[in-house]
C-alpha cells in the first residue's frame, strides 16, 4: 500500500511536475546565463555553462543612462496603484453582477467583455489627447488609468467566474442567520474569496508590470517603466544581450518573491466546516 503510493506520487506528481518545470524554467536559465557570460560565448559552439561569470551587466544597468532602478520603482508604483484600484473596483462590480439583478446588467457585462477586443494601437492618437487634456501625461496616473481600463473588465469577469463557482448556500446560511447583505459580504464572501482575489490581483499586477505600448506613449525619461527601459537596449546596432537579459532577470525576481509570499493565501479557504456552519 505504502509502496504503491510512493510510486504513484512519482509518476503522477513528481515526473510530470519536473517535465513542466523544465519547459518553463529552461528559457529562464538561458536568460540568466546569457546575462553573466562573456559575449564570446554567445556565438559559435553552444555551451550550457558560462566559461566565466561576470555580473558587470547588472552593475551597468544601474550606473549607466539605463537607470534601471528608476524603471523598477516606476513600474512598481504603477503596478501597485493599478492593482489596488482595479481590484477594489472589480470586486464591487463583480459582486454586483453575481448577486443582483438590475436593468442594463447584461449590456454592461457584454460591454466589459468586448472592452478588450480592440487593439490598443488603434486608440493611440485620441488617447494621447485625452491624457494630455487631463494633465496626466508623463505621470504614473496616465498608465494607471489606461491599465485599469483594460484590467477591470477582465478582473470583473474573473471574479464573477469564481463567485459563481462558490456555493450559494454559504451566503444564504449567513443571511438566514440574520446578517445583512453587506455583513454577509464582508464576513463570509471576502474570506473565501481570498484565493480568487490573490489570483486576480496577480493577474492585474503582472499585466501592468509588463505593458509596453501605453508606457512608451505616456511616460518620459523620469517616469518610464521597465519595458520601455528594456526596449531602449535594442537599437539599430543590435541587441545588448548582456544588459537586456540582466534586466529581464531583475524584472522577474522581485515579482517572484512577492508571489512566493502571496501564494500562501492560495490555500483552501473553504472547509467543510464553513459550509455547514
Amino acid at each position: 500500500m505504502k509502496k504503491q503510493s510512493i510510486l504513484s506520487r512519482i509518476f503522477l506528481l513528481y515526473l510530470p511536475l519536473i517535465a513542466i518545470l523544465l519547459f518553463i524554467l529552461f528559457p529562464f536559465y538561458w536568460t540568466f546565463i546569457t546575462s553573466v557570460r562573456p559575449a564570446e560565448d554567445l556565438l559559435g559552439r553552444v555551451t550550457y555553462w558560462p566559461s566565466s561569470v561576470s555580473f558587470e551587466a547588472y552593475r551597468q544597468l544601474f550606473t549607466t543612462t539605463v537607470d534601471f532602478f528608476a524603471a523598477i520603482r516606476n513600474s512598481f508604483i504603477v503596478a501597485a496603484l493599478t492593482t489596488a484600484v482595479s481590484l477594489t473596483v472589480s470586486t464591487l462590480a463583480g459582486y454586483a453582477f453575481s448577486r443582483y439583478e438590475f436593468i442594463g446588467k447584461r449590456a454592461l457585462m457584454t460591454m466589459f467583455l468586448c472592452n478588450n477586443m480592440f487593439p490598443t494601437v488603434l486608440l493611440m492618437i485620441p488617447l494621447f489627447t485625452i491624457m494630455r487634456t487631463l494633465g496626466f501625461l508623463h505621470t504614473p496616473w496616465s498608465l494607471v488609468l489606461s491599465y485599469t481600463t483594460f484590467t477591470i473588465p477582465f478582473s470583473v469577469w474573473l471574479i464573477l467566474g469564481f463567485l459563481k463557482d462558490l456555493p450559494m448556500s454559504l451566503e444564504e446560511a449567513a443571511l438566514v442567520d440574520g446578517c445583512n447583505r453587506r455583513k454577509a459580504f464582508l464576513k463570509i464572501i471576502m474570506p473565501v474569496l481570498g484565493p480568487c482575489l490573490v489570483a486576480t490581483g496577480v493577474y492585474i499586477f503582472m499585466t501592468s508590470w509588463n505593458e509596453y505600448t501605453f508606457a512608451m506613449m505616456f511616460t518620459n525619461n523620469a517616469t518610464r517603466t521597465i519595458p520601455v527601459a528594456l526596449r531602449n537596449l535594442i537599437g539599430q546596432l543590435g541587441v545588448r544581450w548582456d544588459l537586456l537579459t540582466a534586466g529581464g532577470i531583475l524584472t522577474v525576481i522581485p515579482v517572484c518573491i512577492m508571489f512566493f509570499f502571496a501564494q500562501k493565501r492560495l490555500v483552501t479557504g473553504l472547509t467543510a466546516g464553513a459550509v455547514k456552519g
Binding site: 529562464f28 462590480a93 438590475f102 480592440f118 489606461s146 467566474g161 496577480v202 509596453y212 534586466g247 517572484c256
Partner: protein, 290 residues
C-alpha cells in the same frame, strides 16, 4: 438573485463603468468611424466617408484571408495547449509537497517576463546557427543538421505558437489553482466513500465545480491571445513570407503604417469574430440566472 429596483448595484458598478467610458469610449467610437472612411493618414487630403468600401476591400485581399486562418491556428493551438498544461500544472501544484511555495513562485516566471524579452530569447534559442534548441536536438540525436526554425514557412508558425504556450501556462495554472481552493473537501470525502478513482473524481467533481472559472479564463485568454502582437512581432515581424502574420499583426502593421481605415476595419472584423466566440458563454451565463 435579489432586489430588482435597488440603486445599490449601480453604485457598485459605477466606478468600473465610468473609468472605462472615460478612457476608451471616444477612441473606440473614433476607430469605428474610421472603418467607414478612406482613413489613411499618409494621404490626409483624401480622407472621406466611403461606406463599406474598406470591408469590401479586405475581403479581396488574399493576405487578409491568410492572416485570418493563421489567427485560428494561433488562438486554437496557443490557448488550447496553454490550458491543458496550465490545468495539469494547477492540479500538481494543489498537492502538498516539500518546497511547494517555491515551485509555485517559479512557475509564474514566464508570465512575469516582459514580452519583448520572451520574443527575443525564444528567437535566440531557435536560431538556425547558434541556437540552443538545434544544439539540444542534435545532441539527443533527433536532428542531424540544424533547422532554421524561424526562416522557413513550415516551422515558423509552430515555433511562435510554442513561445506563446510557454508564456500563457502560468495564467491558467494560477486561476485554476485559485478556483480549486473553493471546491469543498467534503465532496471528495463523499466520493472516496463511494469508491471513486482519481480520474472519476477529476471529471465528476473537480471539473464541474470550477467550470465557470474554466470558461471565463478560456474566454479571456482567447480574447487576449487573438489580440497579442508583441511575441510574434519580436520573433518574426510576421515573416518570413507572411507565414506568421496573424490578423492582429496585420492590424498592427497597417496601424503603424497609419493606414488606420483598413486597420480599424480589420479590427472590427476581429472583434466581431471574438463576439461570436463569446455568445455561447454569455447565453449559458445569462440563462442560468433566470
Amino acid at each position: 438573485m435579489v432586489k430588482k429596483r435597488s440603486i445599490y448595484p449601480y453604485l457598485l458598478v459605477a466606478p468600473a463603468v465610468l473609468t472605462i467610458l472615460l478612457v476608451i469610449f471616444v477612441p473606440v467610437l473614433n476607430a469605428i468611424l474610421m472603418s467607414f472612411q478612406s482613413y489613411d493618414l499618409r494621404r490626409p487630403q483624401e480622407i472621406a466617408f466611403i461606406g463599406l468600401e474598406n470591408y469590401r476591400a479586405i475581403t479581396e485581399n488574399t493576405l487578409f484571408w491568410g492572416s485570418l486562418w493563421r489567427t485560428f491556428a494561433w488562438v486554437g493551438f496557443g490557448v488550447g495547449f496553454q490550458f491543458i498544461f496550465g490545468f495539469i500544472l494547477a492540479l500538481l501544484l494543489n498537492h502538498s509537497f516539500r518546497g511547494r511555495g517555491v515551485v509555485r513562485a517559479v512557475s509564474m516566471i514566464p508570465w512575469v517576463t516582459p514580452g519583448v524579452l520572451i520574443g527575443l530569447m525564444w528567437r535566440w534559442m531557435y536560431d538556425g546557427n547558434f541556437g540552443v534548441i538545434n544544439d539540444l536536438l542534435n545532441r539527443l540525436g533527433i536532428l542531424s543538421t540544424n533547422i532554421p526554425f524561424l526562416s522557413q514557412v513550415e516551422t515558423a508558425l509552430p515555433s511562435v505558437i510554442i513561445a506563446i504556450v510557454w508564456q500563457g501556462i502560468p495564467f491558467f495554472a494560477l486561476m485554476i489553482l485559485a478556483a480549486l481552493q473553493g471546491v469543498p473537501s467534503d465532496m471528495y470525502e463523499a466520493a472516496d466513500m463511494d469508491g471513486a478513482n482519481k480520474v472519476q473524481k477529476l471529471f465528476f467533481i473537480t471539473v464541474p465545480s470550477i467550470k465557470n472559472t474554466i470558461f471565463v479564463t478560456l474566454l479571456l485568454r482567447v480574447i487576449w491571445v487573438a489580440n497579442s502582437v508583441d511575441i510574434i512581432f519580436t520573433m518574426t515581424e510576421g515573416g518570413p513570407a507572411w507565414s506568421t502574420q496573424t490578423l492582429s499583426v496585420f492590424i498592427f502593421n497597417q496601424a503603424n503604417s497609419l493606414n488606420l481605415g483598413i486597420a480599424s476595419t480589420m479590427a472590427i472584423v476581429l472583434a466581431i469574430l471574438l463576439v461570436l466566440v463569446t455568445i455561447p458563454y454569455l447565453r449559458i451565463s445569462f440563462r442560468k440566472e433566470d
